[in-house]
């Protein structure tokens, strides 16, 4: 090899070694959660980041937040406030603003789809209406939401905002216990339900496999594994390993009480037909073909 060629090769090698060494881990701003809120017509976005330079052991967090006219603007300003390079690959959770509707959910979902690269499998919640200080509350909100996910076996992924053309269903965070459930129709009003109704809605949407809630006016707690099957518009709710814990006055027939309450909840949920949140239309069309009228749905509860 002639000298110039060798020199050129050496230069290339040295350039490769010195230039293309990626991004230092400690210089990355690793985003774990994104929270959106709406205040006085403007959007507020908060980024919860893993603090790479924390002295103590375990994961520590820091936050960056900003306000903007749109969600994208707020997010961009929050990003700008950080010195390092943003990394969304470990994004774990996204919280939509309290009281958001379908259009908001679609806009924010699309924004996250573009931002969140590569490969985040994140959970989506709707934030509660309480007034939060991002710096003080963001970490605990994140931990709480993840705890709700674990405890209630609940999961709503980002893609679930888009799987139905006529609406989407998202769990909503509540500070005290359990979770609420938001049914956001494309051509109708958004419905927020809570308690047993919220957990039934989550089960019918395929987002949970567990009921763990108080019923009968808070007199008992039901803990059961749940599975949903459908036959035309008859929805079969399979409850397995059901456990009742009385909290108040003793009652012999908790099962009947639960059934009654579930039936009431189901009726309330299926009254509004703005969107096919529970896929009843899907099963019916599979049996009878498109265009046939949807009969009144029924709930059949099976204890196993």
């Amino acid at each position: 090899m002639s000298v110039p060629k060798a020199k050129a090769l050496l230069t290339v090698c040295a350039a490769l070694l010195l230039c293309g060494c990626g991004q230092a881990l400690s210089e990355r701003e690793i985003v774990r959660a994104v929270f959106f809120a709406r205040q006085q017509g403007a959007y507020s976005a908060c980024l919860l980041l893993a603090d790479q330079n924390a002295e103590s052991d375990g994961v520590q967090y820091k936050t960056a937040s900003a306000r903007g006219d749109t969600a994208a603007q707020a997010l961009h300003l929050a990003e700008d406030a950080l010195p390092g390079r943003l990394y969304y690959g470990l994004l774990d959770l996204a919280a939509l603003p309290p009281g958001c509707d379908w259009a908001d959910a679609q806009t924010l979902g699309s924004l996250l789809y573009d931002k969140a690269q590569p490969a985040p499998e994140l959970s989506v919640f709707v934030l509660d209406t309480a007034d939060h200080s991002w710096a003080a509350d963001a970490a605990s909100l994140y931990e709480d939401m993840k705890a709700v996910e674990r405890e209630y076996n609940l999961h709503c992924g980002l893609q679930q905002l888009f799987t139905q053309a006529d609406g989407c269903a998202v769990p909503a965070y509540r500070a005290d216990s359990g979770y609420d459930f938001a049914l956001l129709a494309a051509d109708g009003a958004s419905v927020y339900v809570s308690g047993l109704q919220a957990q039934l809605a989550a089960a019918l949407c395929g987002q949970t496999g567990r009921f763990f809630t108080a019923f009968a006016g808070g007199q008992a707690v039901c803990d059961t594994r749940v599975n949903v099957t459908a036959e035309d518009t008859t929805v079969q709710l399979h409850l397995r390993d059901t456990d009742f814990q009385p909290l108040g006055a003793y009652n012999e027939d908790w099962q009947a009480l639960l059934c009654t309450e579930l039936q009431q909840a189901f009726s309330a949920l299926t009254t509004d037909d703005a969107a096919d949140f529970f896929h009843l239309q899907f099963w019916h069309v599979n049996l009878w073909g498109p265009g046939s009228a949807l009969p009144v749905p029924r709930l059949e509860i099976l204890f196993e």
Binding site: C21, G22, A24, L25, R32, Q52
Partner: protein
């Protein structure tokens, strides 16, 4: 050296030998009269034993009657009629004479005859047969090849007791006229493979042949390919097993390692213990070896890629620790990993080359400097050191692919460190393409691993139970009919 025939005159022959070896003190000549004919014995004292010669030949010659027919008659008598165990072929030229003398034979030169008679009186100083140094095995035969070619052939023949074992001894085209032996089973080995191998070995011309590995590079089809074209073993038992598969074994004089041709990738992950222990355990160990090879080659590169380009594959708790480790050291992950890996290689090389009495010191100092001081001084981080050490240890699980593991590891670190995920992909595919492109004598190098089939689980990634293995032994020529 030209093929110059022997002189008819004994004095002329001796003068020539004197001219060649006269300055060597171990060259021995002894003039004597046999049946009234002037003769001379020539030999090298370190290689041949005069006592042996005396015992086997001269005592008997003394008792033989007077010879009719002069020198030629004596020569014919010794070669064809006498009870003296002379070599059957007469020595007719100077080249052969020198070769035989160098091989430790004694030659009787007779006045008035253009031929000499050779006697196998070798008595060379040699290393006794010992246990293998570099191929550890718990079970199976524990003897290893030595430096003497004949001994090695005998070790092989002792294990392979059929009439089909062929051992073709030839002299390599080297300055030192080193002998080598091509061994194969005449019924199992494919003829065209053996012919091609014989031809290629014959064509090899190198100044010196000190190891069977010198041949390997001449047997490669693609010189850019880093995978070895042949495997090596110092165990006669392993060589014997390969002969049973229809492969050829090349032994080189002065080298205790046999060369096995053709060699496949999977062979590097096999050992004698695999067949002595249970199939399940052997399968597990074999899979572990494959994983160890992958760890040795890709582990450090994957670490560098994950830290510098794709942190999403690291759990968040570990990520914080890695970030803290990285922040406390001055170098970027790739350079840090390269430095640590290089340093470990230097320690290994120093421990290997240093005199045995100080090699422990070298290892100790290396371990202390790298393991303790460098970390506490903040020069390298603990995760990098852990990964580099794990990869180095994993390399030793497949020692026969040591060179390749090291070279590939450096390439993977550089490519993954410079370009991230596509760099790792490029490195992985290049290695895969090298393995797939390797064609030892037209055979699939990745057999029986690729294409995946019954053979892959018969004796590939794992091994079957013996009753199944025994049903149909693996022979390379089987699929060629």
């Amino acid at each position: 050296m030209t093929q110059k025939p022997l002189y008819r005159s004994l004095d002329a022959n001796l003068a020539l030998l004197e001219e060649m070896f006269g300055r060597s003190d171990d060259f021995y000549t002894k003039r004597l009269m046999l049946a009234g004919i002037p003769c001379a014995i020539v030999m090298f004292t370190g290689l041949s034993s005069p006592e042996k010669l005396c015992r086997m030949a001269l005592d008997m010659l003394d008792r033989d009657p007077a010879m009719l027919g002069g020198g030629e008659g004596l020569c014919d008598y010794l070669l064809t009629q006498s009870r003296v165990p002379a070599e059957p072929d007469a020595v007719e030229d100077h080249t052969a004479l020198v070769e035989l003398l160098s091989n430790g034979l004694s030659v009787l030169l007779i006045d008035g005859v253009r031929r000499g008679v050779a006697f196998s009186t070798q008595e060379m100083p040699q290393r006794s047969i010992s246990t293998p140094m570099s191929e550890g095995n718990l079970r199976g035969p524990q003897e290893a090849f030595t430096e003497l070619l004949r001994n090695n052939i005998s070790l092989l023949r002792r294990q392979f007791r059929t009439g089909t074992l062929v051992a073709e001894i030839s002299t390599a085209r080297t300055r030192a006229k080193t002998e080598y032996c091509l061994c194969y089973d005449s019924t199992l080995a494919p003829k065209e493979t053996i012919d091609a191998l014989r031809e290629r070995l014959k064509r090899v011309e190198i100044p010196v042949l000190l190891d069977s590995a010198y041949f390997a590079s001449f047997l490669k089809q693609d010189k850019l390919n880093l995978f070895p074209a042949a495997a090596y073993t110092e165990r006669p038992a392993t060589a014997c097993a390969r002969l049973c598969e229809g492969k050829a074994v090349v032994l080189v004089a002065g080298c205790p390692y046999a060369l096995i041709v053709p060699s496949f990738f999977a062979e590097h992950f096999e050992c004698l213990d695999d067949y002595a222990s249970g199939a399940v355990f052997a399968g597990l160990i074999r899979i572990l070896k494959y994983l160890a090879f992958l760890l040795a080659v890709f582990g450090p590169g994957l670490y560098v890629m994950a830290v510098a380009f794709a942190p999403e594959i690291i759990p968040i708790r570990l990520l914080t620790k890695l970030a803290q480790g990285e922040a406390s050291t001055p170098l970027p992950p790739m350079l840090e990993m390269l430095c640590v890996t290089l340093l470990l290689e230097i320690v290994r090389e120093a421990g290997l080359r240093a005199p045995q009495s100080i090699s422990h010191t070298v290892s100790l100092v290396g371990a202390l400097i790298i393991g303790e001081t460098a970390v506490s001084a903040g020069i390298v981080s603990v995760p990098v050191l852990t990964m580099a050490a794990a990869a180095t240890i994993a390399t030793l699980a497949v020692p026969s692919l040591y060179e390749q593991s090291i070279l590939f590891r450096f390439a993977v670190i550089v490519l993954a460190g410079c370009f991230g995920v596509p760099g790792l992909a490029c490195a992985a595919l290049t290695i895969l393409a090298m393995a797939c492109g390797s064609e030892p004598f037209g055979y699939d190098y990745l057999y029986p691993l690729m294409p995946p089939g019954r053979a892959s689980v018969r004796d590939g990634f794992v091994r079957s139970i013996w009753s199944r293995l025994a049903k149909s032994g693996e022979v390379i020529s089987r699929h060629e009919a």
